[in-house]
């Protein structure tokens, strides 16, 4: 919203000299953005179109390329149990990770927003894990989860729980990855906190005068006011869940028994382990399509629950 207003304001300044066509002045702006145009064509649009073409071919890295029409897509759905397995793993992960991540991040942001002392310290602590590399994160958690000497099961044993051998247990390995991923997502707390800081104090004061309780204020003021931030985080979290690859490669290698075989890893294996580039391209495009559809759905349904301040279309009767 902010960008739009600035865009219109700058127009008069750059009007090119009238009458005489000044090609130099006309081309100058394109020269400045030329690096991006080249990069976009060479490293984004080009590859994307190329992979779309590849997805209709049987395309080994070395050897004969043959056109197979929609076969790659058809085989994926009808003749490849790994496709369904990896899709199911990814969906299970997202169903666990997305709500947990949003709830924990929002909860911590609300706690931080209570005018606590040392809030800078807490913010740093929550952000810290997102600073290190995914490889470092995986190294740390592999050791934390160690079945025999891991600190995780030791801490659980202190409260009377006998933990499983996390990374080698088919029913717990995925949960272990959810927990490790949550640890690396502390930046969400900061995004929510910024959203909370944007809520005018007067709203809460008015509600207090009307006798509203804490719970009431949360559902009637906090949640509606931060819903745009919530929407943004929801989309970003879903996308990141579908892109889960490094952690699967490093922590479990997709095992045990493919219980953590994520969709991105399935596509990666088809491309770089089995060198079925065409098939893997079809896998990638299917994933892209899912992400697009999900993002679209989140945007479309957001009309009902996202509140934009100053938006007169809804809640107008109260204004």
């Amino acid at each position: 919203m902010k960008t739009e207003t600035i865009v219109t304001r700058e127009q008069p300044a750059m009007t090119v000299q009238p009458k005489k066509m000044n090609w130099g002045a006309l081309l100058t702006p394109y020269l400045f953005i030329l690096p991006w145009i080249i990069g976009f064509l060479a490293f984004t649009l080009g590859p994307m179109l190329f992979s779309l073409v590849m997805s209709f071919f049987d395309w080994p890295v070395v050897g004969e390329v043959t056109f197979v029409g929609l076969d790659n897509y058809v085989n994926m759905f009808t003749d490849d149990p790994l496709f369904w397995q990896s899709l199911w793993v990814t969906i299970k992960f997202a169903l666990l990770f997305v709500p947990l991540n949003l709830i924990i991040a929002l909860f911590l942001a609300i706690m931080l927003n209570q005018k606590v002392r040392a809030s800078g310290f807490f913010r740093t602590v929550f952000y810290l894990p997102s600073v290190i590399s995914g490889v470092a994160l995986a190294m740390i958690w592999a050791w934390v989860y160690d079945g025999e000497y891991g600190i995780f099961n030791y801490l659980l044993s202190l409260i009377g729980i006998t933990g499983p051998d996390w990374l080698n247990d088919t029913s717990w390995a995925l949960v272990a990855m959810v927990i490790a991923s949550l640890w690396g997502q502390g930046s969400m707390v900061l995004i929510f906190l910024a959203g909370l800081k944007g809520i005018p104090e007067s709203l809460y004061e008015a509600a207090s005068i009307d006798g509203a309780g804490t719970v009431h204020k949360f559902f009637r003021i906090t949640l509606p006011m931060i819903s745009p931030t919530l929407l943004f985080n929801l989309i970003m979290t879903i996308i990141s869940a579908f892109q889960q690859l490094s952690l699967a490669l490093l922590l479990t290698g997709g095992g045990p028994l493919q219980s953590t075989y994520f969709y991105a890893m399935y596509a990666y294996d088809n491309a770089f382990k089995y060198f079925k580039m065409g098939y893997a391209s079809a896998n990638s495009w299917f994933m892209f399509l899912i992400i697009l559809v999900l993002t679209f759905i989140v945007f479309k349904t957001s009309g009902g629950w996202v509140y934009y301040e100053g938006d007169n279309r809804k809640g107008g009767e109260e204004a």
Binding site: K2, E10, Y30, F32, Q114, F126, V135, Y154, A271
Partner: protein, 270 residues
């Protein structure tokens, strides 16, 4: 009063959960190889084995991986500083046909998952004979990155245009205005994207994994991942190297904390 108590209790509890893995990493790195296999685990090592760091580091060509990581990080940062700032200036200071559409495209490409382009990019770099060199990791950075372009553009929009106008009246061309007026004023934005780029490049794992085969080209993250797969590696050495590799981003984070924390939030609201 009760509310404050609840806040502090939960914040301290979660801080413990967030810090415990870090503490465990450091404590493990300083233990002896026998000490890590005790139950219940020891929180504090009896003797601090500082030599673990040097031993683990020297057991693999980590110095070589460090060189590779440094070259990639340095060169991509230079590339992004030049290209992203030029492009951002173009979008921020000119009105031209298709600008708003093109800028929408810039924003849209931020949403494209890397997994979609990774296979064709591999084919492209393979065709160019760039596989197993650092080029696939470096060259694209000289063509700007959507997120950095976006950040710098937003920053340039806050710089008053009167300064540009004054320079123009003095006879400066668009490039001179960019170099002499806008670049010095947008230093905060340039520092911010440098920090982001250094961290992202240093921490990148999938890029090196796909484009590099030969150990002599490995970056640190790839070297660490390979280190873990070796059969005779103890947790002590693994944690020691993990700490060493994580130190530069951590130090950078503490130095630039204000910038990052403010913008991590700013990005979200847009």
């Amino acid at each position: 009063m009760i509310r404050k108590a609840i806040s502090y209790t939960s914040l301290i509890f979660f801080s413990f959960l967030f810090l415990a893995p870090f503490y465990w990493m450091v404590s493990t790195a300083l233990k002896s190889d026998q000490e890590i296999y005790t139950y219940p685990p020891k929180w504090i090592p009896d003797v601090l084995h500082w030599e673990n760091f040097a031993n683990a580091w020297m057991s693999q060509p980590f110095n070589l991986f460090l060189q590779n990581s440094l070259s990639v990080t340095l060169l991509t940062t230079i590339g992004q500083l030049i290209s992203s700032s030029l492009v951002a200036y173009g979008f921020a200071r000119f009105t031209f046909k298709g600008r708003d559409f093109l800028f929408m495209v810039v924003l849209a490409t931020m949403m494209i998952p890397w997994e979609v382009t990774m296979i064709p990019l591999y084919m492209e770099f393979n065709y160019l004979n760039w596989i197993n060199t650092l080029k696939p990791l470096i060259v694209p950075s000289f063509f700007g990155a959507p997120f950095y372009i976006f950040l710098i553009r937003q920053f340039i929009l806050t710089i008053p245009r009167e300064l540009d106008e004054a320079a123009r009246i003095d006879g400066a061309g668009p490039f001179q205005i960019y170099a002499r007026i806008v670049v010095p004023l947008m230093m905060p934005a340039l520092i911010l994207i440098s920090v982001f780029n250094i961290m992202n490049t240093w921490n990148d794992y999938l890029g090196p994994l796909i484009f590099l085969n030969d150990q002599s080209q490995y970056t640190l993250t790839l070297g660490l991942a390979q280190f873990k797969g070796m059969y005779d590696v103890e947790a002590t050495g693994l944690m020691a190297v993990t700490i060493l590799i994580s130190l530069p981003p951590l130090v950078l984070f503490f130095l630039a904390q204000r910038y990052i924390v403010d913008n991590a939030a700013g990005v979200g609201i847009k």
